[in-house]
Symmetry: C2
């Protein structure tokens, strides 16, 4: 296993100018691991941002095929990380080996998906309006538009996906694909993992001849603020808590030059169980839902935290079945002690609320998280009680029983923005509740039918986003190929000589991409 050096990654070199060091921990035992990570000094944060800024002009101008080769090389390097690596991730996160193996595949697959997007070329958004010299009353100039990377991007990874939402995760992949160099703030929960992954990215960058500074990584507590405020940084990707994400948004908005922040934050992912489905397969739904609630110890942003059904004997039976299912689930180790403490706090608040009843779940143990089921009065949703709007990160969920469809709509109206909403229903259910879909569309980024929100496919059509506070900007997604659009901006050329145009816009169409030419899509040369 390679040594863990613990130095920051700046402009293709390693740097440890500071004296403050940090340690990461064995998530299961809580013991400190034998590595020292050097917190970046203010000068190092500045150097990392400057290195990214210096790499930007060359990197953004590379042919998309060159960037695709870089992303493919990262994928190959990730796949080559050995079993020692997998064990190290497991040690830092308490996530099982099989999960980490799967997540590694997802992470490299994500890189390859963006490489495909680069080869497809539609992300370039090429548009050409040709000159009309004889137009009356005024001639029209030749105008051509495409999209380029916005500039250096700061990325903050998540604790719960040490690979897929971290160092080489979706935000990094999307930013690099867009032609934006990255400064990554290593997550304190898995710094050794971050180092091994950063090494893989650097190897890929060297192999494919990328400019130094295309990827930088800094360690440390509190370095994020300096990074977001750095004038070279042009956009921010973040996955984490509402509090943390909102703080970054506020900092970014208050800069002399405000920049966009794409923060994926808090979602309770309502699941609506409809009457016919409950009558027909209530027990199966209870079993599947319980599995979704406890999957990965509930440490998913798409964990179903709210289950809503209409009062009926079937719903009562379902409630009992779900309570029984969750009572049987074993305790699990969480990502770290902070996550466990936060889960305990969330569960305690639910336990203490006079209009929330505890239905099942063992008393909280000292070291592990125990699944918990609650039932809340519907008035809490209708009145917008903050406790039911906030994500309890972990294997807890809250049932809400409504009197009828009217009350269901009121309850949904009271919800804030969500990543997902799920309808569990038979065809007849979906027909009689057709008015729910337009409402859910306005609240969420993804509507599921007869499935469970945990498990986010990385594909072209995925939306992992949604109205605030699910994300800070509902116009983006942090999973799937559309994520690249967050880091692109359009630029146009008026009467530009062909030789000076970017390849995407040249008459000969050397990239062979689809372009909107005088209002019609075409791959032809002009």
């Amino acid at each position: 296993m390679p040594d863990i050096l613990g130095h920051n990654y700046i402009g293709g070199a390693r740097s440890a100018a500071g004296t403050v060091t940090l340690q990461s921990h064995d998530a299961t035992t809580g013991e400190a691991l034998p590595y020292r990570f050097h917190q970046a000094t203010p000068a190092e944060v500045d150097a990392a941002a400057q290195a990214a800024a210096q790499a930007y002009p060359a990197f953004r101008s590379l042919s998309p095929l060159r960037r695709a080769a870089f992303l493919d090389a990262i994928a190959t390097q990730l796949e080559a990380l050995d079993t020692d690596f997998i064990e190290q991730v497991t040690r830092e996160t308490a996530l099982p080996n099989a999960r980490i193996l799967g997540e590694r595949g997802r992470t490299s697959g994500q890189m390859r998906l963006f490489a495909q997007v680069l080869r497809r070329g539609d992300f370039l958004g090429a548009r050409i309006d040709r000159a009309q010299p004889d137009r009356q009353p005024l001639p029209r100039a030749d105008i051509r538009q495409y999209r380029l990377g916005v500039g250096p991007v700061a990325v903050f990874g998540a604790s719960n996906f040490p690979l897929a939402f971290s160092t080489a995760g979706g935000d990094t992949a999307a930013a690099l694909a867009a032609g934006c160099p990255v400064v990554f703030k290593a997550h304190s929960g898995h710094m050794a993992t971050a180092e091994r992954v950063a090494d893989a990215i650097i190897r890929a960058a060297e192999q494919t001849g990328m400019p130094k500074g295309v990827f930088n990584m800094i360690y440390g507590a509190g370095v994020g603020e300096a990074l977001v405020k750095h004038p070279a940084i042009q956009a921010v990707g973040f996955t984490g808590s509402l509090k943390g994400g909102r703080a970054l948004c506020d900092m970014a908005a208050a800069r002399p030059q405000p920049i966009p922040v794409f923060a994926e934050m808090s979602s309770i992912n309502p699941v609506l169980v409809l009457p016919e489905a409950l009558a027909l397969r209530g027990e199966q739904i209870a079993r599947e839902l319980a599995a979704s609630v406890v999957l990965g110890c509930g440490q998913f942003c798409t964990n179903p935290g709210l289950v809503i059904g209409v009062r009926s004997t079937a719903f009562s039976a379902f409630t009992e079945q779900l309570a029984a299912q969750l009572a049987e689930q074993p305790a699990q180790t969480m990502l770290n002690l902070g996550t466990l403490a936060s889960y305990r706090k969330g569960v305690s608040a639910l336990l203490a609320h006079p209009r929330i009843r505890h239905l099942s779940g063992q008393p909280l143990q000292e070291h592990k998280a125990q699944p918990q089921l609650f039932k809340a009065d519907v008035s809490l949703l209708i009145d917008g009680d903050p406790l039911l709007q906030e994500e309890v990160f972990g294997p807890a969920t809250v049932l809400v029983e409504v009197a009828d469809v009217g009350e269901l709509q009121q309850a949904l109206n009271g919800l804030h923005g969500q990543l997902t909403a799920t309808l569990i229903g038979e065809p007849a259910d979906l027909q009689t509740h057709a008015e729910l879909l337009p409402l859910l569309e306005q609240k969420v980024g993804r509507v599921l039918f007869n499935g469970y929100p945990t498990g986010v496919e990385v594909c072209d059509a995925m939306v992992h986003g949604g109205p605030y506070p699910a994300t800070s900007d509902a116009r983006g997604t942090s999973v799937g190929s559309l994520a690249i659009e967050r880091f692109l901006r359009p630029v146009c050329y008026q009467n530009c000589p062909d030789a000076l145009l970017p390849e995407a816009l040249q008459n000969a169409n050397p990239l062979g991409i689809a372009r909107l030419v005088d209002g019609l899509s075409s791959r032809d040369a002009l």
Copy 2:
């Protein structure tokens, strides 16, 4: 000519609950016009936003073809506005009749362009990843994505385009096309014009059966703040000053739910005159540039406010020619007294700066704006002197002479974000200065070659945007069909029954649009 009622437009009706009234003025004489406009009360601002929110579910769900018919009907209504209308606009703005006629054509053309976009359907961004039930290790669900309007949009128009950037201007057109109802804050500089245009929109909405509340308009000073802070408003479009735009951005970012603001603000639009071009056609360039500077009394956001050249005898000759040209230009009446006062202030600041020299221009008169030419020391650009970064709205421009190409690059590096940059050069110039283009691309939204930035074509490929402070978000444009994207957000459906999907995503592809199906563009039914 129809009466000017001066009541607010709320949910398809007129409302004048308040007692505060405002008047608009004859821009040439400064006299108050005989109309009273009722400032919206806080309750009326709320009612307007609520009316838009109530219209939203129905409006966003309309087939794109229905919305296209609405936009076409607005265009027809605008074209039907009579000569009395044109004269009224002229009275309120001092802009000549011919200009207003042209602008009316541009404004209706803009509506028709967005109607075309709606018929084309690419704005829907339809993406389909079909189920792969046999995929290993896990099956893939059917996932389908498209984009829908973000919700009610608040629009603040500009003074300088009373039609094309105002009530029925680009932001209104883009928002309505996206399926977002609009609450428009009538510009205080042309409230009678606003009323006539609002009437035209309402007639079109009634003709085409749009939901009441699809378009609302409120009058008044200070009502903008309440509007931007209203929870129903989901995005803001603004054209105006840096100070005003930034204030809206800050308000929007501080909301409990932050919302995006697309503000088009301040740009000085550098023009680079290169040596060969100056030697060959310096006098012609001086003549053309002078015409661009004084066009519309310099009241364009793309007015060339900075002209940069390399020291040479040709540049000295050009400087003299430009000075002579501008000295000959007549004084013009500005949009209103506030605009004139602001121009006088800007010119006075330039006159008072020790490192800026006044080259030509008559002393400022009391009622009209006189073109002015200045020459600033290059150090002001390199050191980032704020005076050279700020737009002086009106017919003034500043020359900067650089020693060589190195100093030119330094000067450009010192510039903030701009809407446009222009290169005036012969082929040989452009070849020897090829390193300038990548730099300009990073600074601006539109790069022009051998043209002048005034005159913004409304087409698919136009970018009227750019890095801060040109706009608040470089990822958008406020002119051209791409402007619709600012007001759309993606949503996806997982395993949704075909009948419940929006038309854009149904198997049969009833809209006949291009869709990204399993990574390939296709118009086929599935």
